[in-house]
């Protein structure tokens, strides 16, 4: 917003105007005004949240069974996989309206964009494939046969290696994106759901929902070098079901969503020790850090809400009601 200052105005008036504009900007609330998009699996909607006011500002009706959700690299669109409609819908971030579709292969669940923003890799849950989509041309350009029930998708920071986890065969498949061939499969604990690379590419973290662990994998050696186990005082092991993982850009802190344990584990990125457990809402599966990494937002599928965690103080500071069975979350930079 640039104030139009007339050359013909008197000096005191001009300064007064400038000062009030500056004051307005100073007191215009928090600087971290982003927009979060949440897929509500059961109500077939996407909730749009203003992270300044921590309010739902719009609810967009989408197709059936929305789950995986992400921003395109250019921030122009939110992509949401609507599994029962076998497609990916696009939401224009300028208008927050539906604006076209991308092909996805059958029953898309999770997907990931390559670092260039040119290709989308989609996990087709019932088809045991990863479908490759050219985002600009909006066409399918190939597919890769993977293990049974693919879900988790991770991509190395250089875009050369795609990792896809198979829920039933308990594998993390390392796929060369140039040849589209699986180069290595690493066995992890039962029912892997999510895969995340550190920003520097030095580690891959894979969560095992039924195994109750997160495997730390060396991506160069294709070896599990450590496993994180989670123990919450007074809680039996069965509800501790790790799903989503988010790691800060500096690699120093990781967050793991523990499903029906209703807690998020805070993990030291170097030692891989759990430093804290935070009680959030029910059945916490997926999370996202705001672009300034000040807040972590979690989707709580059974309590139908989001929890907002202040990353500096590691406290839950807010709860926002959204649609039914919130699943995924993506946060845009504006």
């Amino acid at each position: 917003m640039s104030p139009q200052i007339s050359n013909r105005g008197s000096k005191p008036m001009r300064w007064g105007f400038l000062v009030s504009v500056c004051l307005l900007m100073l007191f215009n609330g928090d600087a971290s005004a982003f927009t979060a998009y949440v897929s509500n699996e059961r109500s077939n909607t996407v909730s749009v949240i203003d992270t300044n006011k921590w309010e739902v500002i719009k609810t967009i009706k989408v197709g059936q069974r929305p789950r995986g959700i992400a921003l395109t690299k250019d921030q122009k669109y939110v992509l949401v996989a609507v599994g029962d409609d076998d497609t990916i819908q696009m939401i224009d971030t300028g208008t927050n309206e539906l604006a076209g579709t991308l092909p996805s292969g059958p029953d898309p669940e999770l997907f990931i964009e390559d670092p260039d923003g040119k290709r989308l890799y989609v996990a087709n849950e019932d088809d045991n494939t990863v479908t490759i989509i050219d985002i600009d041309r909006r066409v399918q350009i190939g597919d890769i046969q993977v293990g049974v029930e693919p879900e988790g998708m991770g991509i190395s920071p250089d875009g050369k290696i795609l990792v896809n986890t198979s829920e039933t065969t308990n594998m993390a498949h390392f796929i060369d994106t140039a040849t589209r061939k699986i180069v290595k499969s690493v066995l992890v604990d039962p029912r892997p759901r999510f895969a995340a690379f550190k920003q520097d590419g030095s580690e891959l973290w894979v969560s095992s929902e039924v195994g109750g662990t997160v495997s730390i994998i060396d991506p160069a050696k294709h070896e599990v070098k450590q496993k994180i186990e989670f123990k919450i005082s007074g809680m039996r092991p069965e509800p501790i079901q790790p799903v989503g993982i988010n790691i800060t850009r500096d690699g120093k802190t990781g967050f793991v969503a523990l499903g029906p344990a209703n807690h998020v584990a805070v993990v030291d990125g170097t030692t891989h020790q759990v430093t804290k457990y935070l009680l959030v809402g029910q059945r916490v599966w997926h999370m996202a850090l705001t672009p300034d990494e000040r807040y972590l937002m979690t989707t709580n599928g059974t309590s139908n809400d989001l929890s907002i965690i202040d990353v500096a103080t590691l406290k839950v500071v807010n709860t926002i009601q959204v649609g039914q069975q919130p699943w995924g979350i993506a946060i845009s930079e504006h």
Binding site: R236, E238, P239, Q241, T302, S303
Partner: protein, 205 residues
């Protein structure tokens, strides 16, 4: 026995049997639900207020609390009404509020935890019955094949056995749908405990 009728029964049965890919929780292969089996609720998953470890059964000795637990635990009490009752009840000094909150949450947790355990046992019982029924259907179909293969077919016996298979398959399919629905009940109970626990916790802030 009509070949097409047999084929229809067989294909229905095969379609109705749980797919090995989606069904099982590795830790308990007899658990029929897609949600991994969680045998019991944990207080730690529901409550970050003052510890209720010292309450035990004391909540049952307080008639007011006992009545409230029955009322608030009941599904027919809408959640927002329950929340209003909670905020109306947990009043007084900080010490009084804390005592009431602990007793009330302990009562709700115990009561709904028990209901949940009964449902989990019920699901396991039905899953066992399904397995037995599937085995019976399989052996009946084998017996039907043998009867059909005989040079002199006993049509009365064949028809009777075919009817039995058809009937058993229908029960199997109905029960399968019921199981899918009932599998959501444990989570629904957890949802209620969590929501009411949050409302109780809020009164202490």
């Amino acid at each position: 026995m009509n070949f097409f009728r047999l084929a229809l029964i067989l294909s229905t049965m095969i379609a109705a049997l749980p797919s090995s890919a989606r069904a099982a929780d590795r830790r308990d292969p007899d658990w029929p639900c897609v949600q991994p089996k969680v045998p019991q609720m944990s207080v730690a998953a529901m409550w970050d207020g003052p510890s209720i470890a010292d309450v035990g059964n004391a909540w049952q000795d307080d008639p007011t609390i006992k009545d409230l637990v029955v009322r608030l635990a009941a599904r027919r009490t809408p959640v927002d009404a329950a929340e209003r009752v909670i905020s109306g009840f947990i009043t007084g000094t900080d010490a009084e509020k804390q005592k009431k909150a602990k007793m009330l949450f302990a009562g709700l947790f115990d009561s709904l935890s028990q209901q949940r355990s009964e449902i989990v046992s019920g699901i396991e019982r039905v899953a066992r019955k399904q397995k037995e029924l599937a085995d019976r259907i399989r052996s009946d179909v084998t017996a039907l094949h043998e009867l059909e293969d005989k040079s002199e077919q006993d049509q009365i016996k064949i028809n009777a056995l075919a009817d039995q298979v058809e009937w058993s398959t229908r029960i199997f399919e109905d029960r399968r749908k019921t199981i899918r629905y009932v599998c959501e009940a444990p989570t629904a109970i957890e949802q209620r405990v969590f929501t009411l626990g949050r409302a109780i916790r809020k009164t202490l802030d």
